[in-house]
Symmetry: C2
Subunit: 308 residues, 2 copies
């Protein structure tokens, strides 16, 4: 039977701390939930920084630009600079730049995506609503496609509509047109509500179904997010820790990149999930088991005090 | 190597005709394309009827009621009665009735679905647009779920929106809530356009992704469509022919139900597809190969004249 993640306590604290120089941490569900900080996550991250660890904020959320993330971090008491933010929108823009992409991107998403494209000088279509104003069966007669479009990028877009779906799928009918998804998260973690908040993955699957081909995925668990920063900052996987709350993205990302992994139980993954996966005969489930576990990231604060 | 579908010609016409008493025919892509009849499909179907064959029009399209289908058939010169129309919306209503369903259906769809629910006296929510009027992140505070809803039914809905998706997924969070899809067709067949017309399958995959559970599928290739009519009219599978243009729905449906199958090349499936599948080492692809093939259904008209 594969090992359950090791709960960090005083007996293993030093070994844990000595195992990494760099910290990649997911945001929603680890550091904050919506606009609320989770426990003392800010003190924990800032403390790791004061111990000399390099910090990176790694998020699949495509809705904010890196500048907006820095502001959010500061507001909630996390020290952060733009260079430390690795969002799926940023990775998308970096990827297109690396490819020498010189056409226009049809964006199904928000200003978080277009701001990053602007940053690297890549042209894109306007964002915002495109509501249905005629019978859908009249659309093929009236809709004009922008001939300059050479990529479709799908992120979170609450203005998602039938005309947008038709436009995205029609561009993708040209097999030369790139198909990029910021991430495939099924849901946003929200608490204190009976409602389910749909994630980017739902729009991606919708477009993918009509396009009849899969997208290139920028976000976790894809390794692209690590490649972008590891090349720039020479991060060694064996000296890097990934912290996350969603094992099928965060922890799997860590495993895919050869990182150490820490799961916290303040977001999507529950203790029961870990137990279920450790008992499963499916080896894919074992890959979801992190090396370490903490009920919440803020628990590190008191633990680290014992070293002083 | 599996056999390619046999092209119907004079040498096999009698054997073909003697092999069935009942005809199930798909509509869009076989009989008509949008509002245009395909070749002489009407004469072919009416001729089969005059030879004593029972005719059923079997369609995954959920947008029209059976009454509307009868009108469309008549307008395009196909003899038809309401009892001969088997649509995915009709099958959905029949299924819920058989289950003794006595709650309300949250409908992501059109009047084609609500008309069939009304027909069997099953309550449903209103259809039509539910646009986003506040920030999506405010929705969890303002959206109220109808407590009487006990099923979510997803069909074609060009008014599909983020609030509707959130509502559907949130109802489905109750594991007792039924999840029904009229069909999973990726696209509507349209011709003379560079645009791709998204099918119901795109909305279904979108909701399924957030709900994190699969729907019960009413349409082809699910056997439910045959069960509904075969029980009522005592149709023998071995004496029934399925005609279709889309092999992964129509022909697979025929195979799943043990029917004879005829593919026409006036819709989704092309001759090259058939050749590719016959050469494939994947046995699932072989199941897409129909028993018979015709370039278009109207070709039967001249063939049948040779018998007179």
């Amino acid at each position: 039977m594969p090992q359950m993640p090791k709960i960090i306590d005083q007996t293993c604290l030093r070994a844990f701390l000595n195992s990494f120089d760099n910290v990649l941490t997911d945001c929603d569900g680890v550091l904050w939930s919506g606009d609320n900080i989770i426990g003392r996550a800010n003190d924990a991250v800032n403390k790791l920084r004061s111990l000399g660890k390099k910090i990176f904020y790694v998020t699949n959320n495509s809705t904010k630009s890196r500048d907006e993330y820095v502001k959010k971090c500061e507001k909630l008491g996390f020290i952060a600079s733009k260079e430390e933010i690795v969002s799926s929108s940023f990775v998308m823009a970096q990827y297109l730049k690396q490819q020498g992409f010189n056409k226009k991107v049809y964006v199904v998403g928000t200003s978080g995506m277009t701001a990053e494209l602007d940053n690297v000088g890549i042209a894109h279509t306007d964002i915002g609503p495109e509501p249905l104003t005629v019978s859908p069966f009249k659309l093929p007669e009236t809709m004009e496609l922008d001939p300059e479009v050479g990529a479709v990028a799908v992120g979170f877009d609450a203005d998602f509509s039938f005309p947008k779906l038709m436009r995205a799928a029609s561009h993708l009918e040209d097999q030369e047109c790139l198909f990029i998804a910021t991430n495939t998260d099924e849901r946003f973690p929200i608490t204190d509500s009976k409602l389910v908040f749909p994630g980017t993955g739902s729009f991606v699957r919708c477009v993918e179904t009509v396009a009849e081909r899969p997208p290139l995925i920028m976000g976790k668990p894809s390794e692209k997010m690590f490649t972008v920063i590891s090349e720039k900052y020479q991060l060694k996987p064996s000296r890097t820790l990934m912290i996350g709350d969603r094992c099928n993205t965060d922890i799997l990302f860590g495993k895919n990149c050869g990182l150490h992994t820490l799961v916290v139980l303040t977001g999507v993954t529950k203790k029961e999930d870990l137990e279920m996966w450790s008992k499963s005969s499916d080896e894919e489930k074992h890959r979801l088991l992190a090396d370490y576990c903490l009920p919440q990231l803020g628990d590190l604060v008191d633990l680290l005090k014992t070293l002083e």
